[in-house]
């Protein structure tokens, strides 16, 4: 399966600050009562973006200065908690194409990579500099260069990190593994036939 080679992602940024932002916060469980992922973008960060009467809170995603942002900036351990792919699906459907955070929870990172959303880890200081540039001028273009593992913005360049396997998958257009997994039918038969419990 030929997939797009994701070597870089560019766009405007928005900061949703905080550490350990969990997937329940990214997409509250009650919006997972669905049999497709369509429409999830509407409910992204719903409970922190909306008051109980349905009016908007002062959340960065409600701030018109950042509308159209495609790169999300956040803190440590982003995406922790539930394995729900609804979280990266909601981010993607809302319009995000890349995420920069201090660190990521493991299942969330894998789910994003499988959707072709690069997740860059960067230092607190580097993220603070990007956020400061974005706050000064929300139109500033941020480029996440996957191959070079760096982030360019407003004439600055900062280091970023993405694990080798994700980098390789993204830049080679193999971030969704299904094509490759399907090629190994014979090998799967061989390995599974050695496992007595598998036959049961």
């Amino acid at each position: 399966m030929a997939l797009e080679k994701i070597t870089e992602v560019s766009g405007r940024g928005v900061s949703v600050p905080g550490d350990a932002i969990d997937t329940d916060r990214i997409i509250p469980a009650r919006f997972m009562k669905c049999v497709t992922f369509d429409g999830l973008g509407e409910y992204l960060f719903y409970d922190v973006r909306k008051n109980e009467d349905g009016t908007d809170t002062e959340h960065p995603l409600n701030d018109p200065r950042y509308s159209g942002a495609t790169i999300l900036l956040s803190g440590d351990n982003f995406g922790c908690g539930s394995s729900r792919e609804h979280a990266p699906q909601a981010l993607y459907r809302y319009g995000f194409r890349g995420i920069i955070a201090e660190s990521f929870a493991e299942i969330f990172f894998g789910n994003c990579t499988t959707l072709g959303i690069p997740c860059f880890s960067a230092s607190k200081e580097a993220i603070a500099r990007i956020v400061s540039a974005v706050e000064k001028d929300p139109a500033v273009e941020i480029t996440m260069d996957v191959s070079a593992q760096e982030i360019r913005f407003a004439g600055e360049t900062v280091k970023a990190f993405i694990r080798d396997t994700a980098l390789s998958g993204l830049v080679n257009g193999q971030w969704d593994a299904i094509g490759e997994l399907l090629e190994a039918k014979k090998e799967v038969e061989v390995v599974s036939s050695r496992l007595p419990y598998f036959a049961a």
Partner: protein
């Protein structure tokens, strides 16, 4: 001389199919568990690609997240929930997947059903679109949560692309003090190493305490590995494991049983294996533990005071302020005495027979405090039957609890069991995230089932040892 291997390495090696172009391993998933929330889109993707389920006999389904725990007759009052359950039913029928539905008498939370059916076995790989799949590691399996696209991968190929984890051995040696439970052990571990301390690791739990633990206690600990950032957690299989599995529906039978036990023993970590990290905890240092904040690492002993932004390390100041504001708790004051509105005993963490046995033991002769809504929700229909055979449902009801039917219930509130407004819930579940229990402003304090029982009868967060008169054992 060759170095020994950990259980993780042995199971990984036995299931590794090949190396993929990006350097990840194509790993065989021997056992795949599915539920109604994260699987429908995977079947949709499968259909879009024109693929079939490769090994339907290795996927098992049940319904847990969205099922009501009171009114069980379909159609459910919630049309969305009803549509999801019908979708699961349709998918299982179309692809020939075993489905433990409500009518089967075997329905329940997927992490309760797998073990009690004997589907969860040592030396296996288990995946499920649910982060608490780490529960199954209690049997010496490598078990982890996956996303929906990976569910598609397992359905289509029985494999996923994954990188191996490092292994951290966590020894808990000594004796737990009376009134200290498996839940306290895992809350203590998460509190010590933080909610992301386990990122990149599988946790191997061992030592005296785990050697003595029942399978249900081991499951409680492994269940919450993910709350400490560890995608998988496991305990090496031993006689306790084999005794639990013997005679269960999907366990090997007859001559195959003895062969299986020998094989399972071989998966246990070798004494000379290399761990990436080893940590040691003294069992005596663990107290009844409760959370005070908005993630499971924000926990203290029941005897301690709620932290203040000034009392925590500088990097935790902001999140402490955020947590105190959300929880509306006074920093610097004891956590004991915090009034509660709701008490919940259940979930894949603490919804098994022993959880209800222990709580019932202490609930006898007590009444739920006025104004507190208390619910007890068995983790499966089988747990429900076992509890009723022992009369536990009556004890709970006489104490003022509602005894419900099996499901995830108020752990995540995808069903009618939800907090309302800013209600505060003493909960035996696994997550105290903002809004987790269904109200965007609802508040959760995590604890063991016995501590929930103590909170229910006093109407406030309480030290169960004092309320129920648990005595320190005298060493002789």
């Amino acid at each position: 001389m060759s170095m020994g291997k950990s259980l993780f390495e042995k199971v990984w090696d036995a299931h590794a199919v090949r190396e993929l172009s990006n350097g990840q391993t194509q790993l065989l998933i021997g056992t795949h568990l599915i539920h109604e929330v994260t699987s429908p889109q995977a079947f949709g993707m499968l259909r879009d690609l024109g693929l079939k389920v490769a090994y339907p006999h290795r996927t098992f389904a049940t319904v847990d997240h969205i099922v009501p725990t009171d009114q069980r007759v379909q159609p459910f009052a919630d049309p969305l929930a009803d549509a999801m359950i019908r979708e699961l039913d349709k998918n299982c029928k179309e692809f020939g997947i075993t489905y433990f539905d409500i009518a089967s008498g075997d329905q329940g939370i997927v992490h309760v059903v797998g073990p009690e059916q004997g589907i969860t076995q040592p030396g296996t790989t288990i995946a499920c679109g649910d982060s608490h799949t780490s529960t199954h590691g209690a049997f010496g399996a490598i078990a982890f949560g996956i996303g929906t696209t990976q569910i598609r991968d397992v359905l289509a190929t029985q494999t996923i692309a994954l990188s191996p984890l490092k292994v951290r051995r966590i020894n808990v040696n000594g004796h737990l003090r009376p009134g200290v439970y498996a839940k306290d052990v895992i809350l203590h571990i998460i509190r010590q190493w933080g909610v992301n301390g386990g990122t990149g690791f599988a946790y191997e739990y061992g030592g005296d305490v785990f050697d003595r633990f029942s399978m249900e206690e081991r499951m409680t600990v492994c269940n919450m590995s993910i709350e400490g950032g560890a995608r998988a957690g496991y305990v090496n299989p031993d006689e306790t494991t084999f005794a639990y599995l013997k005679g269960r529906r999907y366990s090997p039978q007859g001559a195959e049983w003895d062969e299986a036990v020998e094989r399972w023993k071989g998966f246990a970590s070798d004494p000379d294996c290399r761990y990436d990290d080893v940590v040691n905890i003294k069992a005596e240092d663990i107290a009844p533990t409760v959370t005070w904040g908005i993630n499971p690492g924000q926990a203290i002993s029941i005897e301690q005071k709620i932290p203040t932004p000034e009392s925590v390390p500088a990097e935790e100041k902001d999140v402490t302020e955020e947590a105190l504001a959300y929880m509306q708790l006074p920093g610097g004051e004891p956590i004991a005495g915090t009034p509660i509105d709701v008490a919940f005993i259940g979930s894949c963490t603490n919804g098994r027979l022993s959880d209800f046995v222990e709580a019932a033991e202490y609930l006898k002769g007590h009444r739920v405090a006025t104004g507190v809504k208390a619910i007890a929700v068995p983790g499966s229909q089988r747990v429900d039957v076992l509890c009723k055979e022992r009369g536990l449902d009556k004890i709970f009801e006489e104490a003022g609890f509602e005894w419900r039917e099996a499901g995830c219930s108020m752990c995540l509130a995808m069903n009618p069991d939800k907090l309302v407004g800013q209600q505060l819930c003493a909960s035996s579940s696994n997550r105290n995230f903002k809004g987790r229990q269904g109200s965007p402003t609802g508040r959760t304090i995590l604890m063991s089932p016995v501590m929930v029982a103590a909170a229910a009868v006093t109407g406030k967060i309480s030290d169960a040892r004092k309320i129920f008169g648990v005595q320190e054992l005298v060493e002789v």
